[in-house]
Amino acid sequence: MKFVGKAKLLKKQIINEENFRFVIKRSDEMGCVYPGQFFNVSASKVGYPMLKRPISVSDVGEDTIEFTIKIIGEGTRAMLDYNEGEAVELMGPLGNGFEYGGYRKILVIGGGIGIAPLKGLINSLKKTEVEIHSVLGYRDAPYLYEDFAANSAICEIVSENDEQYNRGYVTDPVKKMLESEVYDMIYVCGPYPMLKNLTDLFNSKGFRAQLLMEEKMACGIGACLVCTCKTKNGDFGFKHSRMCKDGPMFYSDEVIFDE
């Protein structure tokens, strides 16, 4: 089921200089909303920028959905101008999210705003009996880590610039954890170089992970083919899958990364 229309902004919350949170009224017409899925959200009331912005659900409540948004450019900055109580035009839920049934022990790895959709994932898991290990990477001071800290057996935080934490990239702790632990599934969301480096690591060790990926989008539903992800197989030895419709979740052994 896809909802196309307006939904009320119940709560707008500033997280820090770069990030904010929207809590949106969830309507029945949206049907089930799964972690890893996204909505195409209008950046402004006036129709500029023209294209909707894809934003992952970072949590799903009884009758709410949450977005966590990082200010990147014109569109995400414009979103900040919505006021509580106003209607936000959006479309969704879209795409294939995470697959998570039946796993007992999982590793989630998030970088920056990529942590947001993983938060939705672990919050839909915590009731069941899953052992969660988390590795979260930041450029500066950590945010969005609370739910991970509260629900994970191990929660490693690294930061490139914040001296209070282990300095460096997520790959360092991940390497160590993969040596001593066995996971039923690994989930990753973050910037492209992080996905690429981790995938190289997984491939060399024979692990398989679910990657939540990103590309510029227009239609958001699979019709226009501007949002491709290069994947294996297909008539040409590779295939241009649609990020919005076939993804945004792809398995690490399906994706072909650009140099």
């Binding site: 896809k2 196309v4 209008s42 129709g47 500029y48 920028p49 023209m50 294209l51 909707k52 479309m91 590309e215 510029k216 989008m217 227009a218 239609c219 958001g220 539903i221 699979g222 019709a223 226009c224 083919l225 501007v226 949002c227 491709t228 290069k230 297909g234 008539d235 040409f236 590779f238 295939k239 241009h240 419709k245 650009d258």
Partner: protein
């Protein structure tokens, strides 16, 4: 309330109403059929087809620019055979006309495709002459009047269906091209395709698109498209299917007054999937407001 007559004849292709959707923006209708009722749309021009399947361009394919977007999809499509075997029956469930948009590397390829599709259940063939001509250094077929004459005349002979020729706006004199198209037997002209454009990331000093440039569409090109539709309508007597940035009722009516017998909605579908239906209703309201019973009386009704 008066019953309005919305049917329009594009010189052998009769649409239930003048609202169509533009090639490449609607796939084969499957995705949008989950959102809107395709029976309400006059025609669907399907994703540009090629003789063989194509995976399209690598790397980043889209950059948004002020009130527009530049795409470089590179004609990714499953090929004409797959279309025939898998997509036509799906589209036939709906009471809408099927326009097969064809794209070739050579004139021969265009002709082959026109021939194959002539025996299939499509309502019209749209010849996209904005493709790069492999034999002519990759310059688009549609930019050279001599080549336009050659490709249209040959495809006309190979094509037993209603034939639309879709013009490229990247030309100095659209009127000459349009006249040639009519002379060589096109049943209808559609325009405009996207305009060549580019955008640069000033921080890494690289073009945003891996292929450097692409096709600009959306409201940014609307005034240019409108002028071209007006110009073409003034020199040909075959019907014109107008497009280029149409996003709302006002835009659509401008094109119709400038001479378009029908309009296509492209990029606007991305921001508003209901755009075709809203525009259709908007045109009906406009007709009632100004006392038109037959849509056809609105076409080209520009007052100077």
């Amino acid at each position: 309330m008066n019953k309005l007559k919305m049917k329009v004849d594009l010189n052998g292709l009769t649409l239930n109403n003048p609202i169509t959707v533009a090639s490449g923006t609607y796939g084969f209708g499957r995705e949008y059929s989950e959102i809107i009722d395709l029976n309400q749309i006059g025609a669907i021009s399907v994703k540009g087809l090629t003789l063989e399947p194509r995976e399209g361009n690598e790397g980043r394919r889209m950059v948004e620019t002020p009130m527009g977007m530049i795409n470089s999809v590179g004609l990714q499509n499953p090929g004409i055979r797959f279309f025939i075997e898998n997509e036509i029956t799906f589209l036939r469930q709906f009471d809408t006309k099927i326009i097969a948009n064809i794209n070739g590397n050579t004139i021969d390829e265009y002709c082959k495709m026109a021939k194959i599709l002539s025996d299939e259940d499509v309502d019209s063939i749209e010849l996209n002459i904005s493709c790069p001509n492999v034999k002519n250094g990759g310059l688009a077929f549609g930019t050279n009047p001599k080549i336009v004459r050659e490709v249209v005349s040959k495809v006309r002979k190979a094509c037993k269906k209603h034939l639309i020729v879709k013009l490229s706006p990247n030309v100095t004199d659209i009127k000459t091209i349009a006249r040639i198209t009519e002379e060589e037997g096109a049943d209808c002209i559609s325009l405009i395709n996207t305009m060549a454009g580019m955008a640069i990331d000033i921080h890494n000093r690289k073009p945003f698109l891996k292929r450097v440039s692409g096709g600009l569409s959306g409201p940014a090109i609307k005034p240019i498209a409108l002028k071209m539709v007006y110009d073409v309508h003034s020199v040909v007597s075959i019907p014109v299917l107008g497009m280029g940035g149409i996003s709302n009722t006002t835009d659509a009516i401008e094109f119709i007054l400038a001479g378009a017998s029908a309009v296509a909605i492209g990029t606007a579908n991305f921001s508003n999937p209901y755009a075709p239906l809203e525009i259709k209703k908007g045109i009906e309201d406009y007709m009632r407001h100004y006392g038109h019973v037959d849509f056809n009386t609105l076409i080209g009704d520009l007052r100077m």
